[in-house]
Amino acid sequence: MDISYLLPTLLLLPLFGIGLIAFGSHPRKTAIIVSFLNLVPGLLLAGLVLRNGQVLFGPEPIPVRGVFPFKFILGMDGLSLPLVGLTLGVTLAAMGVSRDGVKREREYFICLLLVGLGALGAFLSVDLFYFFSFHEVALIPTFLLLGIWGQGDRSGAAWRMTLYLMFGSLVLLVGLIGLVLALPETARTLDWRVLTEALQTNPLAGDRQTILAALLLVGFGTLISLVPFHSWAPGGYASAPTPAAMLHAGILKKFGLYGLLRIALPMVPAGWQQIGGVVGLLLAANILYCGLAALQQRDFRWLLGFSSVMHMGTIFLGLISGTVLGLGGALLLMVGHGFSVALGFAVAGEIHHRTGTTWIPDLGGLAKKAPKLWFYLMIATMASIGLPSLANFAGEILIFFGAWASHPYLVVIAAWGVVLSAVAMLRAVRGIAFGPVANAVENAPEGDITGTREVWPFAFLTTILFVLGLVPVLVLGPARPVLERLLSR
């Protein structure tokens, strides 16, 4: 039985939800239900990918117009499966921690659903045009979410974030066009499957590869906040509304990494090696520089932002390791980081909702006042500092093992980064949770998170982190053949 139509269903359900909200159904409930229902095709598709290796929808080219036939082909294999899973999971949790009664409620939830929809589309698209466009689709609501519903310096943060990301997208677009134009006129295609194969059988000339790799690095690098294109991230996340921060840091940022893994690495391998030194330098800077900067943050959300930027360095290390082990680790860490950072921002959002601040010196004694919230704060912290049995640990270990042979010094730096991140996060936890109960915490009108209604998103994310940490083969198994194909030149 062909059930590949489940692929567009993944995209249509949120769209349907957006329609419902626009026509007046209860925004938050609709968003949650739609996100939850979307798990069903997601799980079915996961089963299909586990069995067949991949699922495709719309193999017949549907030319739109012009020189290039844009084809609306959706596909899912072992590489996109974990990311689609990440998107579905984090979207559901983000809707779960959102609240009723925000201003312009309809638009708010439509924007949130759009972000998830854009990410899903990007991860599923086989055609570069849609791959790129879906990501842009997600950027616009992100801007609105920041600018309209943000906190603090929201308009500054929104503009900074948007301009950075637009700049990155632009460079990326140039790079992608360059990739396509590099082929002879008759062979040009936007289908990355065909493109990869063509570029792997007939590699481009060396310096051309270098230029394209550099463009893709800057483009994707900006999207994943690689130093020195990172400064949009911490401030942006600090002022974004909680679900938006979860969606962006958790999912949308992974688009850049996914693109690197899917496009940049296999298509211009030689160029990638050419600029390997620079990449190494940048990712070391990511880890050390942002790790050190994280030490100095006094606002918990800024801290989460910096620590999230820092982890991008570790993932990058896996990407340039050139081994299946390292790539697998990077993929696992991408997913683990997505869930853990979402949990982190969710907890930060709850703290902010209750006490009105995430300024660490003003907090204290949360463990006493809100033990459940403290528990999830610990889980998020432990995940982000790579504690075993959570997904991030397995990913980090694999990356270290995979990159050890080729980049031992970077592994040392990354391992030291783990120490730095532990210092930063635990200091924050000490400030927030330990010690005597601070005024802000004492006077909080609501105490702990209580009842299934409030707790389930946290429990959901935690469960996933544990499952992936204990059974990493869920991610690694289906991804392995894909990764091996990526590396075979």
Binding site: F393, G435, V471
Partner: protein, 601 residues
């Protein structure tokens, strides 16, 4: 399925921790029962395993797959060799006693469900380290132990000192783990395996040279952190902020010796490099003496014991460095008995005196808490290595191994002298004389749940030397004895009692005052000034750079440039339609002119 049953000794405590966390938080009675029963089950299972499969044999158990990916294979397997079975029995046994003790000790605490959940988590992780069959899963449990230690030290989270100590413990351990994981990576790249089973056979292909030394030292780094050896020893005294049962179980008897256990596991790798072995021996040797000196000037009863722990673990580390694992493991076992006993006794004192920990505020406790006084005496004699108590047998073996290293022998035996000194000081000041505070005047013995574990441990401390521990270690120490070490060490240990007796017999305040010892050789201060300040300074620099240069100059700078360009260009917009039209016409004309000029062929 039955083949997997040994996993129960590992999983029962985990099950308890999860169940308590999820369901039993509001019901402390059930939580305590579940946790204690799980520990009991674990202990019984360990005992059964200890005596099955022969003394020298390894029990084969199928592994549970975890990661098997692109050449890296790390499964949750159990390595059931005699060493592991002995250690597992020891860990679960001591843990069981501490569970029982904690029931009484924390009777009043509103958060005792959480305490027992965390305790169960610890037992699970510690059993994991003991039974792990490869370095990666060992590292995994290693970190989990660090987490449970963090949680338990910070158990009283409203005390600022507890939070600070918990953080310090975790972070210092993290620095050790940094070396450990690099060491593991090194093992993998040098020998191509991380399995502890395959390791000995893969060593034949050792390349030798500095790489092996570096790997050995990396692994030793892990031990430095977990077992609190110099220079990463600073966390252990602070960790005494946790509840006393925790200090007893984690920070004396089991967790801190995990480092030694790990060294014994990877000894074949360490032995490849003499530099590594010498370093280990000397770090151990030096660390027998330094904490013993510091302990002579400490006033907190638990901290004195903590420094003594540092010193005793150093004996084990030194033994490993000398290549004799049998005595190291033997001492580890004996130390678990008497040091756990001493801590539980200290807990009993603290419990009896209502949270007073300063020995100078005690006094006269011998009359009010006779049982505690007696077991403390037994523990002290065992600790000081007085025959025929347990500590004597194990220390004697270690001293015997130093026979050919006179310098090490001298240092470690002098440490024995000071150990006797500060232990007698503790006893005289706390238990002798007359009460020096209201709390001490009303001190009383605790309930049966406090007494019972101490009784068992006292018996073990006395008779531990006669347990057939060595038969599990495969070592036959008889015959290697050089008699001079026995006599010299014994004389020094006894001699330590003499000055202590005369100085502290009737002291009401400390007649000695040695600032450098009170200041613990100022290592903490050094770290705070140099290392922490450095990282923080770099952090401040990075943050300032981020704020001023990146966010301020580059980002805002490009914004300013764009805005300035806009300001300049908007002057052109005068709003007059006819001016626009004129510009348009002029543009069209110039275009026309250009086309015509170039178009004429």
């Amino acid at each position: 399925m039955i083949a997997y049953s040994p996993y129960l000794i590992l999983l029962l405590p985990l099950f308890a921790a999860v169940v308590i966390r999820l369901f039993l938080h509001p019901f402390p009675r059930f939580a305590i029962s579940v946790s204690t029963l799980a520990c009991l089950g674990s202990f019984i299972g360990s005992l059964l395993l200890l005596f099955s499969g022969g003394l020298g044999g390894t029990i084969a158990i199928p592994a549970i797959p975890w990661i098997e990916f692109a050449g890296l294979k790390a499964d949750f397997g159990l390595l059931m060799d005699p060493l592991a079975r002995l250690m597992a029995t020891l860990v679960s046994g001591i843990a069981l006693l501490v569970h029982i003790y904690s029931i009484g000790y924390l009777k009043e605490d509103p958060h005792r469900s959480r305490f027992f959940a965390e305790l169960s988590l610890f037992v699970f992780s510690m059993m994991g380290i003991v039974l792990a069959d490869n370095l990666v899963t060992m590292f995994l449990f290693w970190e989990l132990v660090g987490l449970s230690s963090y949680l338990l030290i910070g158990f009283w989270f409203d005390r600022p000192a507890a939070g600070a100590a918990a953080n310090k413990a975790f972070l210092v351990n993290r620095i050790g783990d940094f070396g450990f994981i690099l060491g593991i990576l090194g093992v993998w790249s040098l020998f191509g395996t991380i399995s502890l089973v395959d390791l000995p056979s893969s060593l034949a292909a050792s390349p030798g040279g500095w790489a092996v030394t570096a790997v050995g030292l990396g692994l030793f780094c892990g031990c430095l952190g977990k077992s609190a050896q110099f220079p990463l020893h600073v966390w252990l005294p602070d960790s005494m902020e946790g509840p006393t049962p925790v200090s007893s179980l984690l920070h004396a008897a089991t967790m801190v010796v995990a480092g030694v256990y790990m060294l014994i596991r990877v000894l074949p790798i360490l032995e490849l490099s003499t530099v590594t072995m010498t370093t280990i021996a000397w770090v151990g040797g030096a660390m027998t003496l330094l904490p013993a000196l510091i302990a002579c000037q400490q006033n907190d009863i638990k901290r004195i014991l903590a420094y003594s722990t540092l010193s005793e673990i150093a004996y084990m580390v030194m033994a490993v460095g000398l290549g004799v694992t049998g005595p190291a493991m033997y001492h580890l076992t004996m130390h678990a008995f008497f040091k756990c006993l001493l801590f539980l006794a200290a807990g009993s004192v603290i419990h009896g005196c209502h949270e007073v920990q300063d020995i100078w505020k005690m006094g006269g406790l011998g009359k009010r808490m006779p049982f505690t006084a007696i077991v403390t005496g037994i523990g002290t004699l065992a600790l000081c290595g007085i025959p025929p108590l347990s500590g004597f047998w194990s220390k004697d073996e270690i001293f015997a191994a130093t026979a050919h290293h006179p310098a090490l022998a001298l240092v470690s035996m002098v440490a024995g002298f000071f150990t006797s000194f500060f232990m007698l000081r503790l006893i005289l000041v706390a238990f002798g004389g007359s009460p020096r505070s209201e709390a001490a005047r009303h001190a009383h013995e605790g309930s049966a749940s406090l007494i019972f574990p101490m009784l068992i441990l006292a018996i073990l401390s006395v008779a531990g030397g006669f347990l057939p521990v060595n038969s599990f270690l495969g070592a036959s120490p008889e015959g290697t004895h050089a008699s001079w070490t026995l006599w010299v060490s014994l004389v020094l240990a006894l001699a330590g009692f003499v000055p202590a007796f005369f100085i502290y017999r009737a002291a009401t305040r400390d007649p000695l005052s040695i600032p450098i010892l009170q200041g613990k050789f100022y290592v903490d201060e050094f770290y705070n000034r140099v290392l922490v300040a450095n990282q923080d300074g770099l952090g401040k620099l990075a943050d300032a750079f981020e704020g001023w240069v990146v966010r301020g100059f580059l980002v805002r700078g490009s914004g300013v440039v764009a805005r300035a360009a806009g300001q300049g260009l908007r002057l052109v917009q005068c709003g007059q339609v006819q001016v626009y039209a004129t510009i348009f016409i002029l543009g069209a004309l110039s275009l026309l002119w250009w086309i015509l000029k170039s178009g004429v062929r």
